[in-house]
Amino acid sequence: MIRLEARPAPSRLWGVLSPVVAIALTVVVAAALFALLGKDPVRGLEIFLVKPWSGARALTELGLKATPLILCAVGLGLAFRANVWNIGAEGQFLVGGILGGGLALVVTANQIPMSRWAFFPMLVLAGAVGGMIWAGIAAFLRDRFNANEILVSLMLVYVADLFLSWLVFGPWKDPKGFNFPQTMNFADGTGVPRLVAGMRLHWGFVLALLAAVGMWIFVYRTYRGMQLLVGGPAPAAARYAGFSSRQALWSTFLVSGGLAGVAGALEVAGPMGQLTPHVSQGYGFAAIIVAFVGRLDPLGAVLAALVLATFSIGGELAQSRLGLPSAITGVFQGVLLLSLLGCDTLIQYRPRWGRR
């Protein structure tokens, strides 16, 4: 009979080890699933985990997939630490994409001469504003009316998705697009500057890394960051110290929403080059997993984003090379988060054998 005994202090060792064990568990589940589906598990794992890292092109694609995940997860980590449950990053991502895409559309439709470097800051700003507006609604309703931010931010995901759908089926539809629900292709000058010639990887990746480093400095090296950190685990202490929980709510929502919006704008102007009904591939939701696997730490988010990006590309490869549904990525993402939560128990508790 195993029972769990509370540790006097959280285990630092398990804080670091838990994601590693969770990833290992997920790999075991993956191998078992491949075997169950009649595929060679070794080849399956090779395609799923090794191929996404093989070669220069694969690595740049990995960075491209990781970019929105890093941007979203860096903000979400901050919010979750402050005990603010913004789970609507997907919606904030979409609205950022809509504003960024709208800006690119204006430039394209009016044939405004534009260079990629001149457009880059405008694009980032548009995305941030879009994400902040959407996150700001949830923050406002929580602040003013005490409405549950989990449910409100999530409902707004569906609203944003339908709004995007209306735009691309209606007013923003490409008149020369054979009635497909998509905007016209954006002009070349509205693209995101490429990082490596000939590859899709763009400077947004660098921006995401800078955001992570900036967030790390903010959280661990500034007084304001510390205020937010205290508010999560010890709200009473934070109140006693005079730290405002309202401020924590607003700032974390706006920062996480803004970053998600930037991610959306970069995705639309970067690899997509137009708006379609399927702007996001669930980046905002996957980023929740990234944030937790990355220990709600900005630099941890970078590592975790690379893991989830591997899963994502691995899923696409599993579809083309093994004939498995690409939805298998979602299964592994879910298994990863569930195992992580289970492993995290060992941070606070110590297993004891035998009866008390």
Binding site: R3, L4, E5, A6, W85, I87, L141, F145, N146, A147, N148, I150, L151, V152, L154, M155, L156, Y158, V159, L162, F163, S165, W166, F169, G170, F285, I288, I289, F292, P325, A327, I328, T329, G330, V331, F332, Q333, G334, V335, L337, L338, L341, G342, D344, T345, Q348, Y349
Partner: protein
């Protein structure tokens, strides 16, 4: 007249999945457990139920399979949140994400398959009444079952000893534990029952309401059902009422379109989500009112040793 009768009938049909899931979540929450995994449990149950109904040809086998699948998914949550003391919010969220992926994966082979629509018998004798017949008495059996389940839960909560124990576990798990009640087992039972009801709800969506399986078909209904329990201030009859209200909102869009109201489809489809937000705002305005009605230990981890 006839149009109104059909609107009422459609409202009941659209409200029933919300009612079933909302009642299941109500049982959870009255025991002090928030399971944000509703959306995931419903998705897993929807695909399982559809597959079972498709393969056996019996919709009731499908509902049973959905209930079992929902309870099985809930058991993952229960084991983590109750026995490994994980954060209920994070764990439920994880279950929702897992359910979205798992259902899409399992359901790949069932996309595009159709179930034969079975003729709805309705209630003999009453089904031929003018107006009331088409409005109320020509529904699928699950619509009436949802009402019966609501009554049964209300009776269980307020008229039985077991229901009192369940509610006391939700209000003060420490006191219930001190009195010798197995708090975690009671909560686990509530979690499984909630999962089973969410499962029936998901299976109803894929077998009766749609009737087909597509990825993402739950479309936020699990989350709306979670909002319903708040809206209902954790009372069974109000959950049912709220579910029909939301069902009505869903149907209003079709009705308005039928009337030739020129509003884009997408804005109509936003209505259930926007009304959820509005309802949450209205009901949560007074924090005291929520705190008075909410099970006191809701969402808090209970560790028997401490």
């Amino acid at each position: 007249m006839n149009e109104i009768a059909l609107l009422i009938a459609a409202t009941l049909a659209a409200g029933t999945p919300l009612a079933l899931a909302g009642l299941g979540l109500l049982v959870n929450e009255r025991a002090g457990v928030v399971n944000l995994g509703a959306e995931g449990m419903m998705a897993i149950a929807a695909v399982t139920g559809f597959a079972a109904a498709f393969l056996t040809g019996s919709e009731w086998v499908g509902f049973a399979a959905g209930a079992v699948a929902g309870a099985a998914a809930a058991s993952i949550f229960g084991w983590l949140a109750l026995w490994l003391y994980t954060n209920q919010y994070a764990t439920g969220l994880a279950l929702s994400l897992f359910g979205a992926g798992f259902s899409a994966f399992v359901g790949t082979g069932f996309v595009g398959k159709n179930l034969e629509r079975t003729a709805v018998a309705g209630i003999p004798g009453l089904r031929d009444l003018p107006f009331l017949g088409p409005a109320l008495f020509r529904q699928h059996a699950l619509v009436y079952l949802a009402i019966a389940i609501m009554a049964a839960i209300a009776w269980f909560f307020y008229r039985t000893r077991a229901g009192l124990v369940l509610r006391s576990v939700g209000e003060s798990p420490e006191s219930a534990h001190a009195l010798g009640y197995p708090v975690r087992s009671i909560r686990m039972a509530a979690v499984l029952a909630g999962g089973a009801l969410c499962g029936v709800s998901g299976a109803y969506l894929s077998i009766v309401y749609a009737p087909m399986w597509v990825e993402g078909m739950i479309a936020g209904r699990g989350w709306i059902a979670l909002a319903l329990t708040v809206f209902a201030t954790w009372r069974p009859a109000r959950v049912l009422l709220g579910a029909y209200l939301f069902g009505g909102v869903t149907m209003l869009q079709l009705h308005l379109q039928g009337r030739g109201v020129q509003v884009p489809l997408q804005f109509m489809s936003m209505l259930p989500y926007l009304s959820t937000v509005v309802v949450l705002v209205l009901i949560s305005r007074d924090p005291l009112w929520i705190r008075l009605n909410m099970p006191a230990s809701l969402g808090k981890t209970f560790h028997p040793g401490s």
